[in-house]
């Protein structure tokens, strides 16, 4: 069974993080929500594996009840 990576897998996390924040600059709340939703769909399709995606969904909801 495929397992979600939980160790860092991006060479330069700082660079990605700042580009992610930059992506949202100047957007309204609603536009940001749309951009985030697109990101999730694109990345989920890249992952593809439903067992990994289910682990992602579970972690994303952790501590929120």
């Amino acid at each position: 069974m495929a397992t979600l990576r939980t160790e860092s897998n991006i060479e330069d996390p700082d660079a990605f993080y700042s580009e992610l924040i930059e992506l949202h600059r100047g957007l309204t709340e609603e536009q940001s929500r749309l951009v985030n939703a697109k990101l999730i769909l694109l990345l989920a399709n890249q992952v593809g594996d439903m067992t990994v995606l289910r682990q992602v969904l579970a972690i994303a909801r952790e501590s929120l009840g």
Binding site: R33, A37, K38, L41, L42, N45
Partner: protein, 544 residues
């Protein structure tokens, strides 16, 4: 439409003057597509059926319009497919728009070599006229269709069911071995037995109209998310027979039904959609909210529920009418064999085991489609918009866009009647699947025919290769529940395109045992007679 609807005369029966309630094997409540399909199927199997309908005509207004390939295959077995094909609008393609841009189109029947198209559209009232005409040809064989017979009460007992009926000549009562409620969403039988639906109710209101117009749109399903003519909502356009078009417009949860049904308002909405040039006439319109729910069980002793009386779905996916006809297809052969004493009563339990998962599948797809179309939260609206805005350029996102997942026949995977397979096959036609069609040629004269036409109303051993495969059926061919042998191979049916062998993943020696409803009961690479006998017994619930 109602001005041209046929009237079927009420005719008093001798039963109404009988001193005691007359006894019938099967009484069906409701002469809609489900009730009539069941009645026709039973009578073709030699079981007389009484059908009670409170009205004296076909259904009024927009109901089912799309009949799926599997349903047409069932209708063909019942002798109704040809007039439906002649009358209906054939279509295989759908288009999905976002705003005014075409996002993508899809073909629901991408491969050749099927007798029937993915769908035809034929408004339910016209389909019912065809069923009634077919039912009338079977009157002499025991199909007793009683108009203006309104069921007022149902009293189940251990060894029969009593039905109280009102007619223009006053009340009378009947008794039957089995009662089938095919009396729709507002089922009287369900109400008098005090049974409730469980599931979800959606709050969004939809305006559904049938519009008569001469328009040049192709016979495709067209679905719009957020079109400029109906901003922020969804719209559906679908062609029916006789220049009638179905239009569904989402109005939202707070739409005022009284206001929205004012004819000027309806016409104005449709005018915005259809443009200034097209002349149209509103034949019928109504405001709907949708439910996705079902009865907890479809069998209650000697009473069975089928179609909308048993389960309800939203219209996006054409899963109501098609699912209901498949209920009838599933129940008819079982009732017939039990009534003939060829199978034990517990075979009837498999109706629940098979049709409840099928209903759940329809409810699941219908719920998901309705959720996609009517997002309830800011987050779900954002995901919907994200999928829509990606779908035109990035094909992966089309998989998320849900304008209705159109009816597919259920594969009865969890059925206790299936013989689990041990031989290696591709999964497509695994036990529980409806048998696939393919073009074939008959040995006499080499006429072109279709495989499903060869599978008639009984059990069939479909085998591939030379006579050796067929020989293992042996004495079962003449048993109490006979198994017809159909062979594709030298000196028998020919498979000129190779599609039968390909669809059935067949090699010489491969044998499929196919049920009377054309579902696969078991399959083997080279079975012996014991394996086939055991699978037949299992499919008849003869094994404990």
């Amino acid at each position: 439409m109602s001005d041209t609807a046929p009237r079927y005369p009420y005719r008093p029966r001798a039963d109404q003057r009988a001193p005691r309630p007359a006894q019938h094997p099967v009484i069906i409540v409701g002469a809609g597509p489900v009730g009539l399909a069941l009645a026709i199927d039973l009578v073709l199997r030699g079981i007389p059926a009484v059908v009670l309908d409170e009205d004296d005509t076909v259904s009024v207004g927009s109901r089912s319009i799309c009949w799926a390939k599997r349903t047409l295959e069932i209708y063909d077995r019942l002798g109704c497919a040809e007039p439906m094909m002649a009358r209906g609008v054939t279509w295989n393609r759908g288009n999905v728009f976002h705003g005014d841009r075409l996002l993508y189109e899809f073909n629901l029947l991408p491969e050749e070599g099927h007798r029937f198209p993915a769908f035809i559209n034929l408004q339910q009232n016209l389909a019912e006229e065809i069923f009634v005409a077919r039912a009338e040809t079977l009157a002499g064989d025991g199909l007793d269709l009683r108009w203006k017979n309104r069921v007022t009460n149902v009293v189940p007992a251990d060894d029969h069911v009593r039905v109280d009926i009102d007619t223009p000549d006053g009340p009378y009562a009947l008794r039957c071995d089995y009662l089938v409620a095919a009396d729709g969403v507002r089922s009287t039988v369900r109400r008098v037995l005090g049974l409730d639906f469980k599931g979800r109710v959606f709050e969004d209101r939809f305006l559904i109209s049938d519009v008569k117009m001469r328009a040049e749109f192709p016979p495709e399903r067209r679905f719009w998310f957020d079109p400029t003519f109906h901003g922020g909502r969804s719209a559906l356009l679908h062609r029916q027979a006789d220049d009638v078009w179905r239009i569904d417009l989402q109005l939202g949860a707070d739409a005022d039904p009284e206001l929205e049904l004012q004819s000027e308002r309806v016409v104005a909405r449709l005018r915005r959609m259809l443009g200034p040039k097209i002349a149209f006439e509103v034949a019928w319109s109504s405001l709907y909210t949708f439910q996705c729910r079902r009865l907890e069980r479809f069998r209650h002793g000697r009473v069975f529920f089928a179609g909308d009386a048993a389960h309800q779905v939203s219209p996006f996916g054409a899963r109501g009418g098609n699912g209901g006809v498949q209920d009838a297809d599933n129940l008819a052969w079982k009732l017939a064999l039990v009534l003939k004493g060829a199978a034990p009563e517990r075979l009837l339990d498999s109706y629940d085991a098979e049709r409840i998962p099928a209903a759940d599948e329809n409810i699941l797809h219908s719920t998901r489609a309705t959720d996609f179309m009517t997002p309830k939260t800011a987050a779900s609206a954002a995901f919907r918009d994200a999928a829509l805005s990606l779908a035109e350029r990035y094909p992966f996102a089309r998989g998320f866009v849900n304008s209705g997942r159109l009816s597919r026949p259920a594969t009865l995977d969890a059925s206790p009647l299936n013989t689990p397979e041990r031989d290696a096959f591709t999964p497509v036609l695994r036990p529980g699947s409806p048998a696939a069609d393919a073009p074939i040629r008959t040995p006499q004269g080499g006429e072109t025919s279709w495989l499903l036409r060869e599978l008639r109303n009984g059990f069939t051993a479909l085998c591939f290769g030379d006579d050796g495969a067929a020989a293992s059926v042996g004495a079962l061919a003449n048993g109490p529940v006979p198994v017809a042998v159909k062979r594709i191979g030298p000196g028998a049916l020919a498979d000129p395109s190779g599609r039968a062998a390909q669809r059935y993943d067949a090699r010489p020696g491969t044998l499929y045992l196919i049920r009377p409803d054309q579902h696969v009961a078991g399959r083997w690479r080279r079975p012996d007679a014991d394996q086939i006998r055991s699978a037949l017994e299992r499919a008849l619930a003869l094994q404990e």
